[in-house]
Protein backbone atom coordinates (compact mmCIF):
# COMPACT_ATOMS: atom_id res chain seq x y z
CA UNK A 1 0.00 0.00 0.00
CA UNK A 2 1.02 3.54 -0.61
CA UNK A 3 1.59 6.04 2.18
CA UNK A 4 1.81 9.82 1.95
CA UNK A 5 2.53 11.96 4.99
CA UNK A 6 1.79 15.63 4.43
CA UNK A 7 2.21 18.76 6.47
CA UNK A 8 0.89 22.12 5.30
CA UNK A 9 4.40 23.10 4.31
CA UNK A 10 5.74 20.02 2.60
CA UNK A 11 5.49 16.35 1.82
CA UNK A 12 7.23 14.50 4.62
CA UNK A 13 7.08 10.95 3.41
CA UNK A 14 5.86 9.14 0.35
CA UNK A 15 6.34 5.54 -0.64
CA UNK A 16 5.20 1.93 -0.48
CA UNK A 17 4.86 0.49 2.98
CA UNK A 18 3.92 -2.79 4.62
CA UNK A 19 2.27 -1.33 7.66
CA UNK A 20 1.70 1.93 9.48
CA UNK A 21 0.79 2.28 13.14
CA UNK A 22 -0.88 5.54 14.18
CA UNK A 23 -1.94 7.08 17.50
CA UNK A 24 -5.68 7.36 16.84
CA UNK A 25 -7.52 9.64 19.24
CA UNK A 26 -9.63 6.64 20.28
CA UNK A 27 -6.58 4.43 20.65
CA UNK A 28 -3.56 3.30 18.71
CA UNK A 29 -4.16 1.12 15.66
CA UNK A 30 -2.22 -0.35 12.80
CA UNK A 31 -3.13 -0.49 9.14
CA UNK A 32 -2.02 -3.23 6.79
CA UNK A 33 -2.75 -3.92 3.16
CA UNK A 34 -6.46 -3.93 2.25
CA UNK A 35 -7.58 -2.29 5.45
CA UNK A 36 -11.21 -1.14 5.25
CA UNK A 37 -11.71 2.52 4.30
CA UNK A 38 -11.25 4.64 7.41
CA UNK A 39 -11.06 8.26 8.47
CA UNK A 40 -9.68 8.93 11.92
CA UNK A 41 -8.24 11.76 13.92
CA UNK A 42 -4.91 11.36 15.64
CA UNK A 43 -3.71 12.22 19.09
CA UNK A 44 -0.20 13.25 20.09
CA UNK A 45 2.12 10.31 19.69
CA UNK A 46 4.25 8.25 17.33
CA UNK A 47 3.64 7.14 13.79
CA UNK A 48 5.51 3.90 13.11
CA UNK A 49 6.08 3.02 9.49
CA UNK A 50 7.44 -0.24 8.15
CA UNK A 51 8.45 0.24 4.53
CA UNK A 52 8.38 -2.43 1.82
CA UNK A 53 12.16 -2.63 2.07
CA UNK A 54 11.85 -3.46 5.75
CA UNK A 55 13.02 -0.08 7.05
CA UNK A 56 11.44 1.29 10.19
CA UNK A 57 10.67 5.00 10.29
CA UNK A 58 9.19 6.80 13.28
CA UNK A 59 7.63 10.25 13.35
CA UNK A 60 6.47 12.20 16.36
CA UNK A 61 3.31 14.18 15.77
CA UNK A 62 1.19 16.55 17.78
CA UNK A 63 -2.02 15.38 16.17
CA UNK A 64 -3.63 15.16 12.77
CA UNK A 65 -5.81 12.97 10.58
CA UNK A 66 -5.54 9.78 8.64
CA UNK A 67 -7.55 8.52 5.71
CA UNK A 68 -7.24 5.14 4.04
CA UNK A 69 -9.02 4.22 0.82
CA UNK A 70 -8.09 1.57 -1.78
CA UNK A 71 -4.67 0.97 -0.27
CA UNK A 72 -3.83 4.67 -0.33
CA UNK A 73 -3.06 6.08 3.09
CA UNK A 74 -2.94 9.84 3.59
CA UNK A 75 -1.64 11.15 6.88
CA UNK A 76 -2.16 14.83 7.52
CA UNK A 77 -0.13 16.21 10.39
CA UNK A 78 0.53 19.74 11.51
CA UNK A 79 3.87 19.51 13.27
CA UNK A 80 6.17 16.58 12.95
CA UNK A 81 9.58 15.44 14.11
CA UNK A 82 11.46 12.45 12.75
CA UNK A 83 13.22 10.18 15.21
Amino acid sequence: MNLTILSPEKEIFSGDVKSVKVPGSAGQFEMLDNHAPIVASLAKGEIRVLTDKGEKVVFNVEGGFVEMLNNEVSLLVSSVRED
Binding site: T4, P8, E9, K10, I38, V39, S41, G63, L69, L76
Partner: protein, 295 residues
Protein backbone atom coordinates in the same frame (compact mmCIF):
# COMPACT_ATOMS: atom_id res chain seq x y z
CA UNK B 1 12.77 73.85 -19.66
CA UNK B 2 16.04 74.40 -21.42
CA UNK B 3 18.27 74.67 -18.40
CA UNK B 4 22.00 75.04 -18.58
CA UNK B 5 23.98 72.18 -20.06
CA UNK B 6 25.52 71.16 -16.79
CA UNK B 7 22.22 71.08 -14.87
CA UNK B 8 20.54 68.92 -17.49
CA UNK B 9 23.45 66.52 -17.55
CA UNK B 10 23.24 66.10 -13.81
CA UNK B 11 19.51 65.48 -13.88
CA UNK B 12 19.96 62.80 -16.52
CA UNK B 13 22.53 61.11 -14.35
CA UNK B 14 20.26 61.08 -11.32
CA UNK B 15 17.27 59.75 -13.27
CA UNK B 16 19.42 56.96 -14.71
CA UNK B 17 20.49 56.02 -11.19
CA UNK B 18 16.89 55.90 -9.97
CA UNK B 19 15.92 53.84 -12.95
CA UNK B 20 18.60 51.31 -12.16
CA UNK B 21 17.26 50.98 -8.63
CA UNK B 22 13.65 50.47 -9.71
CA UNK B 23 14.76 47.94 -12.27
CA UNK B 24 16.68 45.98 -9.66
CA UNK B 25 13.76 46.13 -7.23
CA UNK B 26 11.47 44.76 -9.87
CA UNK B 27 13.73 41.79 -10.42
CA UNK B 28 14.06 41.14 -6.70
CA UNK B 29 10.26 41.17 -6.37
CA UNK B 30 9.94 38.75 -9.25
CA UNK B 31 12.21 36.29 -7.47
CA UNK B 32 10.38 36.71 -4.17
CA UNK B 33 7.06 36.28 -5.91
CA UNK B 34 8.16 32.95 -7.28
CA UNK B 35 9.09 31.82 -3.79
CA UNK B 36 5.80 33.00 -2.30
CA UNK B 37 3.83 31.23 -5.01
CA UNK B 38 5.81 28.08 -4.27
CA UNK B 39 4.64 28.18 -0.66
CA UNK B 40 1.01 28.35 -1.80
CA UNK B 41 1.52 25.41 -4.16
CA UNK B 42 3.21 23.38 -1.40
CA UNK B 43 0.13 23.73 0.73
CA UNK B 44 -2.31 22.54 -1.89
CA UNK B 45 -2.06 18.72 -1.49
CA UNK B 46 -2.63 19.04 2.24
CA UNK B 47 -5.58 21.38 1.73
CA UNK B 48 -7.12 19.15 -0.93
CA UNK B 49 -7.00 16.07 1.22
CA UNK B 50 -8.32 17.89 4.24
CA UNK B 51 -11.28 19.09 2.21
CA UNK B 52 -11.85 15.62 0.83
CA UNK B 53 -12.05 14.24 4.35
CA UNK B 54 -14.51 16.98 5.26
CA UNK B 55 -16.78 16.21 2.34
CA UNK B 56 -16.59 12.48 3.09
CA UNK B 57 -17.70 13.08 6.64
CA UNK B 58 -20.43 15.49 5.59
CA UNK B 59 -21.75 13.01 3.03
CA UNK B 60 -22.23 10.57 5.86
CA UNK B 61 -24.08 12.88 8.20
CA UNK B 62 -27.82 13.26 7.92
CA UNK B 63 -28.92 16.86 7.84
CA UNK B 64 -26.62 19.85 8.13
CA UNK B 65 -23.50 19.72 10.21
CA UNK B 66 -22.75 22.21 12.93
CA UNK B 67 -19.75 22.49 15.17
CA UNK B 68 -18.93 24.75 18.07
CA UNK B 69 -17.16 27.07 15.61
CA UNK B 70 -20.27 27.33 13.45
CA UNK B 71 -22.71 28.64 16.06
CA UNK B 72 -24.13 31.99 15.09
CA UNK B 73 -24.84 34.30 17.99
CA UNK B 74 -25.79 37.93 18.38
CA UNK B 75 -22.76 39.90 17.35
CA UNK B 76 -21.61 42.24 20.07
CA UNK B 77 -17.86 42.13 19.74
CA UNK B 78 -16.12 41.86 16.41
CA UNK B 79 -12.53 41.18 15.54
CA UNK B 80 -11.25 42.30 12.17
CA UNK B 81 -7.88 40.86 11.18
CA UNK B 82 -6.10 43.02 8.64
CA UNK B 83 -3.21 41.48 6.76
CA UNK B 84 -0.94 43.93 4.96
CA UNK B 85 2.72 44.04 4.04
CA UNK B 86 5.49 45.41 6.22
CA UNK B 87 6.99 47.56 3.49
CA UNK B 88 5.73 50.10 1.05
CA UNK B 89 6.71 50.86 -2.55
CA UNK B 90 4.02 48.57 -3.85
CA UNK B 91 1.51 51.05 -5.23
CA UNK B 92 -1.92 51.24 -3.67
CA UNK B 93 -1.77 47.64 -2.47
CA UNK B 94 -1.94 48.24 1.28
CA UNK B 95 -4.25 51.22 0.98
CA UNK B 96 -6.72 49.12 -0.98
CA UNK B 97 -6.77 46.45 1.72
CA UNK B 98 -7.34 49.06 4.42
CA UNK B 99 -10.15 50.67 2.44
CA UNK B 100 -11.77 47.29 1.98
CA UNK B 101 -11.62 46.79 5.74
CA UNK B 102 -13.21 50.17 6.43
CA UNK B 103 -15.95 49.45 3.89
CA UNK B 104 -16.62 46.12 5.59
CA UNK B 105 -16.82 47.66 9.05
CA UNK B 106 -19.12 50.47 7.89
CA UNK B 107 -21.38 48.14 6.03
CA UNK B 108 -21.65 45.25 8.45
CA UNK B 109 -20.61 46.49 11.86
CA UNK B 110 -21.74 50.13 12.06
CA UNK B 111 -23.59 49.57 15.33
CA UNK B 112 -20.68 47.74 16.96
CA UNK B 113 -18.39 50.55 15.87
CA UNK B 114 -20.57 53.19 17.54
CA UNK B 115 -20.47 51.12 20.71
CA UNK B 116 -16.69 50.88 20.49
CA UNK B 117 -16.80 47.10 20.21
CA UNK B 118 -14.75 46.63 17.06
CA UNK B 119 -11.26 45.27 17.62
CA UNK B 120 -8.72 45.37 14.84
CA UNK B 121 -5.77 43.04 14.80
CA UNK B 122 -2.88 43.63 12.44
CA UNK B 123 -0.51 41.30 10.72
CA UNK B 124 1.98 43.44 8.82
CA UNK B 125 2.92 46.99 9.73
CA UNK B 126 1.38 49.07 6.96
CA UNK B 127 -2.20 48.44 8.00
CA UNK B 128 -1.41 49.52 11.55
CA UNK B 129 0.22 52.74 10.33
CA UNK B 130 -2.79 53.50 8.15
CA UNK B 131 -5.41 52.95 10.85
CA UNK B 132 -3.57 54.53 13.73
CA UNK B 133 -3.24 57.78 11.84
CA UNK B 134 -6.90 57.98 10.87
CA UNK B 135 -9.14 56.33 13.44
CA UNK B 136 -9.35 56.43 17.20
CA UNK B 137 -12.52 54.42 17.78
CA UNK B 138 -11.14 50.89 17.39
CA UNK B 139 -9.32 48.68 19.85
CA UNK B 140 -5.99 47.98 18.24
CA UNK B 141 -4.09 44.74 18.69
CA UNK B 142 -0.56 45.16 17.40
CA UNK B 143 1.32 42.28 19.00
CA UNK B 144 1.01 40.01 15.96
CA UNK B 145 2.41 42.46 13.41
CA UNK B 146 5.81 40.65 13.12
CA UNK B 147 4.17 37.34 12.19
CA UNK B 148 4.15 38.65 8.63
CA UNK B 149 7.89 38.17 8.35
CA UNK B 150 7.86 34.69 9.82
CA UNK B 151 5.08 32.78 8.12
CA UNK B 152 6.08 29.27 9.24
CA UNK B 153 2.95 27.21 9.70
CA UNK B 154 3.53 26.50 13.38
CA UNK B 155 4.06 30.15 14.08
CA UNK B 156 0.97 31.30 12.25
CA UNK B 157 -1.22 28.60 13.73
CA UNK B 158 -0.36 29.85 17.22
CA UNK B 159 -1.94 33.15 16.25
CA UNK B 160 -5.00 31.63 14.60
CA UNK B 161 -5.43 29.22 17.52
CA UNK B 162 -5.51 32.16 19.93
CA UNK B 163 -8.25 33.86 17.90
CA UNK B 164 -10.29 30.64 17.84
CA UNK B 165 -10.02 30.42 21.61
CA UNK B 166 -11.12 34.03 21.92
CA UNK B 167 -14.15 33.17 19.81
CA UNK B 168 -14.91 30.06 21.86
CA UNK B 169 -14.82 31.83 25.21
CA UNK B 170 -17.03 34.62 23.94
CA UNK B 171 -14.50 37.42 23.67
CA UNK B 172 -15.55 37.91 20.04
CA UNK B 173 -18.77 36.89 18.33
CA UNK B 174 -17.40 37.16 14.81
CA UNK B 175 -13.97 37.27 13.22
CA UNK B 176 -13.35 38.70 9.76
CA UNK B 177 -10.12 38.60 7.78
CA UNK B 178 -9.21 41.24 5.23
CA UNK B 179 -6.28 40.46 2.99
CA UNK B 180 -4.93 40.76 -0.55
CA UNK B 181 -6.06 37.74 -2.49
CA UNK B 182 -3.55 36.67 -5.10
CA UNK B 183 -4.98 36.20 -8.55
CA UNK B 184 -1.90 36.63 -10.69
CA UNK B 185 1.23 38.74 -10.66
CA UNK B 186 -0.63 41.75 -12.03
CA UNK B 187 -3.91 41.37 -10.15
CA UNK B 188 -4.47 41.43 -6.41
CA UNK B 189 -7.97 41.52 -5.04
CA UNK B 190 -8.54 43.07 -1.62
CA UNK B 191 -10.89 40.57 -0.03
CA UNK B 192 -12.86 40.36 3.19
CA UNK B 193 -13.81 36.91 4.42
CA UNK B 194 -15.81 35.82 7.39
CA UNK B 195 -13.59 33.42 9.26
CA UNK B 196 -15.69 32.78 12.33
CA UNK B 197 -18.35 31.61 12.83
CA UNK B 198 -17.78 29.09 10.07
CA UNK B 199 -20.41 29.40 7.38
CA UNK B 200 -22.78 26.44 7.45
CA UNK B 201 -21.31 23.41 5.74
CA UNK B 202 -23.61 21.70 3.30
CA UNK B 203 -23.01 18.32 1.84
CA UNK B 204 -22.64 18.09 -1.86
CA UNK B 205 -25.88 16.37 -2.97
CA UNK B 206 -24.17 14.75 -5.94
CA UNK B 207 -21.69 12.95 -3.74
CA UNK B 208 -22.43 9.41 -2.77
CA UNK B 209 -22.49 8.40 0.82
CA UNK B 210 -18.94 7.35 1.58
CA UNK B 211 -18.52 3.92 3.08
CA UNK B 212 -15.97 4.62 5.76
CA UNK B 213 -15.16 3.65 9.29
CA UNK B 214 -15.11 6.84 11.30
CA UNK B 215 -13.05 6.99 14.41
CA UNK B 216 -14.17 8.45 16.78
CA UNK B 217 -17.67 9.23 15.42
CA UNK B 218 -18.39 11.72 12.64
CA UNK B 219 -19.44 14.54 14.93
CA UNK B 220 -16.27 14.28 16.99
CA UNK B 221 -14.13 14.06 13.86
CA UNK B 222 -15.78 17.18 12.54
CA UNK B 223 -15.00 18.99 15.79
CA UNK B 224 -11.35 18.05 15.29
CA UNK B 225 -11.24 18.72 11.58
CA UNK B 226 -12.77 22.19 11.58
CA UNK B 227 -10.00 23.84 13.64
CA UNK B 228 -7.39 22.43 11.26
CA UNK B 229 -9.30 23.79 8.31
CA UNK B 230 -9.58 27.17 10.03
CA UNK B 231 -5.87 27.28 10.74
CA UNK B 232 -5.14 26.38 7.18
CA UNK B 233 -7.41 29.05 5.75
CA UNK B 234 -5.87 31.65 8.07
CA UNK B 235 -2.42 30.61 6.89
CA UNK B 236 -3.55 30.77 3.29
CA UNK B 237 -4.66 34.40 3.62
CA UNK B 238 -1.20 35.27 4.89
CA UNK B 239 0.60 33.45 2.08
CA UNK B 240 -1.74 35.02 -0.46
CA UNK B 241 -1.05 38.50 0.84
CA UNK B 242 2.67 37.90 0.60
CA UNK B 243 2.48 36.76 -2.99
CA UNK B 244 0.20 39.70 -3.75
CA UNK B 245 2.63 42.12 -2.14
CA UNK B 246 5.47 41.04 -4.39
CA UNK B 247 3.21 41.08 -7.42
CA UNK B 248 2.08 44.60 -6.60
CA UNK B 249 5.63 45.77 -6.07
CA UNK B 250 6.71 44.25 -9.35
CA UNK B 251 4.01 46.14 -11.19
CA UNK B 252 4.78 49.37 -9.35
CA UNK B 253 8.49 49.15 -10.06
CA UNK B 254 7.91 48.28 -13.69
CA UNK B 255 5.74 51.37 -14.02
CA UNK B 256 8.41 53.47 -12.31
CA UNK B 257 11.08 52.22 -14.68
CA UNK B 258 8.87 53.11 -17.62
CA UNK B 259 8.22 56.58 -16.25
CA UNK B 260 11.93 57.14 -15.79
CA UNK B 261 12.49 56.16 -19.40
CA UNK B 262 9.98 58.76 -20.57
CA UNK B 263 11.55 61.41 -18.39
CA UNK B 264 14.95 60.53 -19.79
CA UNK B 265 13.74 60.91 -23.35
CA UNK B 266 12.55 64.42 -22.64
CA UNK B 267 15.70 65.35 -20.77
CA UNK B 268 17.93 64.09 -23.58
CA UNK B 269 16.08 66.26 -26.10
CA UNK B 270 16.54 69.24 -23.83
CA UNK B 271 20.19 68.43 -23.42
CA UNK B 272 20.76 68.24 -27.16
CA UNK B 273 18.87 71.48 -27.69
CA UNK B 274 21.01 73.25 -25.14
CA UNK B 275 24.17 71.80 -26.65
CA UNK B 276 23.24 72.90 -30.18
CA UNK B 277 22.35 76.33 -28.95
CA UNK B 278 25.73 76.65 -27.31
CA UNK B 279 27.51 75.58 -30.51
CA UNK B 280 25.48 77.96 -32.64
CA UNK B 281 26.23 80.86 -30.36
CA UNK B 282 29.91 79.99 -30.34
CA UNK B 283 30.05 79.71 -34.14
CA UNK B 284 28.28 83.05 -34.44
CA UNK B 285 30.89 84.62 -32.21
CA UNK B 286 33.80 83.15 -34.21
CA UNK B 287 32.34 84.22 -37.54
CA UNK B 288 31.60 87.65 -36.09
CA UNK B 289 35.16 87.92 -34.75
CA UNK B 290 36.72 86.89 -38.08
CA UNK B 291 34.59 89.38 -39.98
CA UNK B 292 35.70 92.13 -37.62
CA UNK B 293 39.40 91.26 -38.19
CA UNK B 294 39.04 91.29 -41.99
CA UNK B 295 37.05 94.47 -41.97
Amino acid sequence: MAGGLKEVRERIKSVVNTQQITKAMKMVSAAKLRKAQGAIVQMRPYADRLNRMLSNILSNLDGGATTSFGKERTVNNVLVVIITSNRGLCGAFNTNICKEAIALIDEKYGRQRRDGKVSVMFVGKKGYDYFRRRFRDFNYISEHIPVYDNPAYENVSLVSRAQMDAFSNGQYDAVEIVYGRFKNAATQIPTAEQWLPVPKMEKDPSQKRADYIFEPDQQQLLENLVPSILQLSFHKTLLDTQASEHGARMTAMDKATENAEELLKELRINYNKARQEAITTELGEIVGGAAALEG
